[in-house]
C-alpha cells in the first residue's frame, strides 16, 4: 500500500471533507500559506474564504468558529501549537462544550479544533504542552489522539463529520512519519481502541507517539519471553474502556504510557478505571510511565528522558513482571 506522512494524511482528510461538504472550512493563523504542511493545496482548490487566515486572537477566532458552527458551518480550527489553546479555553469550555446542553439541544457545535504537540524539540515551556488531559475533564468535548498517518486521516474525517466539538491533538513528533494510508476513502470510529500487538503477560496502554515506543518495547520484550499487548485508545473521549478491561482480564498487569504530565493525566484516568472495574483481574500494581510533573526545559540536555521511550518502557515492564 502507498505510504504518506502524518501531515499529508491530515491534509488529505481536510481536502476530501472540504470537497465533500461546502460547509467545511479551515481557519487559523497563516493557514493559506501552508507553513507547516497540513494545508497544502487547499488555497488553490477552495479559495481564501474557505482557507481563512485569521488575526492572532485564539480566543476570538475560536468564538468565530463556534458562531459559524451555530449557523450551519463546519469549521476546522488549526491552532498549530496546542500550547495556544489556553487562550481559547473559555470559548472551548464555556461555549463549545456547553452550548448544546445548556440550550436543551436547540443548537450544537460541529467544529474541529486541531492542535499539534511539539515536545522534545527544545522549544521550552511555552510551546511543549501535551494538554489533552485538561480537556478530558470537560464534558461536551471529544478528544482524539492519532498515533499514525492511517489513524490521523480516518479519525480526522470522522471528527469533521461529528456534530460536536472535537479536539484533535496531533503529535508533532509524528508529523513527518510515513505510514500506509489506503487510496480509498475510510473513516475510523470514535471510542474503538486499536490493539497493535496481542499479548498475554502484560497490557501496555499508550497514547500518541508513545504507541510506537510501546510497540518497539513489545518486540524487545518478546525476545525475553514477555508477551505484551499494546493498546492505543485512539480517542480518549470517548474512551474504549471495554477493550482495556478485557485485555487486563487476560494479562492481569497494566502499564500506562503517556507523554503528558502525571497528575490528573490520561494515564491516571485509565489506571483509575481499571482499579475500579478491573481490580479482581489484577495480579500486580498498575503502573504509570509519564512525563514528570515539571515544566519543559529548553536545553536538550535537560529535556532528555522526560518522555517515556523504549528503554524506560522495557525496564518498567520487566519490573512489573517481577511484582
Amino acid at each position: 500500500m502507498r505510504e504518506v506522512t502524518f501531515l499529508q494524511a491530515v491534509a488529505e482528510a481536510q481536502a476530501e471533507e472540504m470537497a465533500r461538504d461546502d460547509s467545511v472550512f479551515l481557519m487559523g493563523e497563516d493557514v493559506s500559506g501552508n507553513v507547516y504542511g497540513s494545508s497544502g493545496g487547499l488555497l488553490d482548490q477552495f479559495g481564501a474564504e474557505r482557507v481563512l487566515d485569521t488575526p492572532i486572537c485564539e480566543s476570538g477566532f475560536t468564538g468565530v468558529a463556534i458562531g459559524a458552527a451555530m449557523v450551519g458551518m463546519r469549521p476546522i480550527v488549526d491552532y498549530t501549537i496546542a500550547s495556544f489553546m489556553y487562550l481559547a479555553t473559555d470559548q472551548l469550555v464555556s461555549m463549545a462544550a456547553k452550548s448544546s446542553y445548556m440550550y436543551g439541544g436547540q443548537t450544537h457545535i460541529p467544529a474541529v479544533f486541531r492542535a499539534a504537540m511539539f515536545y522534545n524539540g527544545g522549544i521550552a515551556a511555552q510551546h511543549s504542552d501535551r494538554n489533552y488531559s485538561m480537556y478530558m475533564n470537560v464534558p461536551g468535548l471529544k478528544v482524539v489522539v492519532p498515533s499514525s498517518p492511517f489513524d490521523a486521516k480516518g479519525l480526522l474525517k470522522t471528527a469533521i463529520r461529528d456534530d460536536d466539538p472535537v479536539l484533535v491533538f496531533e503529535d508533532g513528533n509524528l508529523w513527518g512519519r510515513r505510514g500506509e494510508v489506503p487510496e480509498d476513502e475510510y473513516l475510523l470510529p470514535f471510542g474503538q481502541a486499536n490493539i497493535l500487538t496481542e499479548g498475554s503477560d502484560v497490557t501496555l496502554v499508550a497514547i500518541a507517539a508513545r504507541v510506537g515506543e510501546a510497540v518497539k518495547a513489545a518486540t524487545r520484550l518478546a525476545e525475553e519471553g514477555i508477551s505484551v499487548e499494546v493498546i492505543d485508545p485512539r480517542t480518549l473521549v470517548p474512551l474504549d474502556s471495554g477493550t482495556i478491561l478485557e485485555s487486563v482480564a487476560k494479562t492481569g498487569r497494566l502499564l500506562v504510557v503517556d507523554q503528558g504530565h502525571r497528575t490528573c493525566g490520561a494515564a491516571g484516568e485509565i489506571a483509575a478505571l481499571v482499579a475500579e472495574q478491573g481490580f479482581w483481574d489484577l495480579q500486580a500494581p498498575i503502573k504509570r510511565l509519564t512525563a514528570p510533573d515539571m515544566q519543559i526545559p529548553f536545553s536538550p540536555a535537560l529535556e532528555k528522558g522526560f518522555y517515556p521511550e523504549v528503554e524506560q518502557i522495557v525496564t518498567a515492564t520487566r519490573a512489573l513482571m517481577e511484582e
Partner: protein
C-alpha cells in the same frame, strides 16, 4: 415611521416589562432558582434594536436578556417555563434565566460569560456571508463587556472581513456595582470603533424609535456588504444588577440618578409619542392589558408545566452520541 410599527414596539416593551416584573415577584417569593437579571428600564433599546431586524436575522444576548428574545418575537410561554425550570422551557429547563435563548426566532444563545457572545456573533455573520444569504447578526453587549479582550478581537475581525454584524452596546452605566467610567478609559465605549475604521453612533436608549432608526441604517449597511456598525445606546437598569437583597444596602448609585432616569421611561416616552400622533389612550390601554394578560397566561402555562424528569439531565450533552466505553457510573 410607520405607526403600526411603533405600536408593536410599545406592545413588546410592555410584554418585557410585565415579564420581568413577574420574574421579580417569583424571585422574591423564592420560586426562581439561581439568579435573575432584569432589563426593566432598558426595554427601549432592546425592542428598538430587535425590531430593526427581520425574522431570519440573528441576535445574540447575554446574562440580562429575558427581553431580547421577546423583542425578537419569541413567545413568552416557553421563556417563563424555562425560568421556572420546567420541562416545557425553551431550553427544557437546562439553561434558566441567564441563558434564555429561543433559537426559533434567531436568538443564537445568551452566554452569561461576559463578552463571550461578541466573537460568536461575528462567527454567525461570517457564516451568513459564506452561505451567501442576507442575514445580519445583532450582538448585544454591556458597557462592562466592552473591556474584555473579546470586544477587541470581535471588532477587528468584523471590520477586517466586512461582516454583516451590528454591535449594540447597552451602556446602562454600571457593571454590577462598578460605574462604567471607573473601568473604561473613556466615557463613550463607541469612541473605540474608530480604531477599526468602523462607524459608530450614540443613541438615546430610552427612545425606541431612535434606536430603531440607527439599527435600521446599520442593517442596511450590513446587507449592502459594507460591514459592521457599532451603536452605543445610553440606558439604565432600574433594578440592581440582579434580584435579591445582596445589593440593597449598597450606595454605588444615587436615588436622584434613578429618579431622573425613571422620568425618561421608555414605555412612557413611546406612549407619549403615540398619543401625540393621535392614537387613542384606550387603544394603548388595551395593548397594555393584552400584554399583561399574555404574561399572566405564560405564568399559568409555566406553573402547570411539569418539571423535567431526572433522566433528561443526561440528554443533549452531545448531538453525536458517545460510543465506546466512555460513559461510566457516578453518584
Amino acid at each position: 415611521m410607520d405607526q403600526q410599527l411603533l405600536i408593536e414596539m410599545y406592545r413588546r416593551m410592555g410584554l418585557i416589562r410585565h415579564f420581568d416584573e413577574t420574574v421579580q415577584k417569583l424571585f422574591n417569593s423564592g420560586r426562581i432558582p439561581g439568579s435573575a437579571h432584569l432589563s426593566i428600564g432598558q426595554e427601549g433599546e432592546v425592542v428598538g434594536a430587535c425590531m430593526a431586524l427581520n425574522e431570519h436575522d440573528y441576535m445574540v444576548g447575554n446574562h440580562r436578556s429575558h427581553g431580547h428574545p421577546i423583542g425578537k418575537g419569541a413567545g413568552v410561554n416557553a421563556l417563563m417555563a424555562e425560568i421556572l425550570g420546567k420541562a416545557t422551557g425553551v431550553n427544557r429547563g437546562k439553561g434558566g434565566s441567564m441563558h434564555l435563548a429561543d433559537f426559533s426566532v434567531g436568538s443564537l444563545g445568551e452566554s452569561s460569560i461576559v463578552g463571550s457572545g461578541l466573537p460568536v456573533a461575528v462567527g454567525a455573520a461570517l457564516g451568513s456571508k459564506m452561505q451567501g444569504n442576507d442575514r445580519v447578526t445583532l450582538c448585544f453587549f454591556g458597557d462592562g463587556a466592552s473591556n474584555q479582550g473579546y470586544f477587541h478581537e470581535a471588532m477587528n475581525m468584523a471590520a477586517l472581513w466586512k461582516l454583516p454584524v451590528i454591535f449594540l452596546c447597552e451602556n446602562n452605566g454600571y457593571g454590577v456595582t462598578t460605574p462604567s467610567n471607573k473601568v473604561a478609559a473613556l466615557e463613550d465605549i463607541s469612541a473605540r470603533a474608530a480604531g477599526y475604521g468602523t462607524p459608530a453612533t450614540i443613541v438615546d436608549g430610552q427612545q425606541c424609535v431612535e434606536v430603531f432608526d440607527a439599527v435600521t441604517e446599520a442593517v442596511d449597511r450590513a446587507r449592502r456588504g459594507q460591514g459592521p456598525t457599532m451603536i452605543e445606546a445610553k440606558t439604565y437598569r432600574y433594578h440592581h444588577h440582579s434580584e435579591g437583597p445582596l445589593y440593597d444596602h449598597m450606595t454605588y448609585r444615587s436615588d436622584e440618578e434613578l429618579v431622573a432616569w425613571k422620568q425618561r421611561d421608555p414605555l412612557h416616552l413611546a406612549r407619549e409619542k403615540l398619543l401625540a400622533e393621535g392614537v387613542g389612550a384606550a387603544t394603548l390601554d388595551d395593548i397594555e392589558r393584552a400584554a399583561e394578560e399574555e404574561v399572566a397566561a405564560a405564568l399559568e402555562f409555566a406553573e402547570q408545566s411539569p418539571l423535567p424528569e431526572p433522566p433528561e439531565a443526561f440528554e443533549h450533552l452531545y448531538r453525536t452520541p458517545l460510543t465506546g466505553g466512555g460513559v461510566t457510573d457516578h453518584a
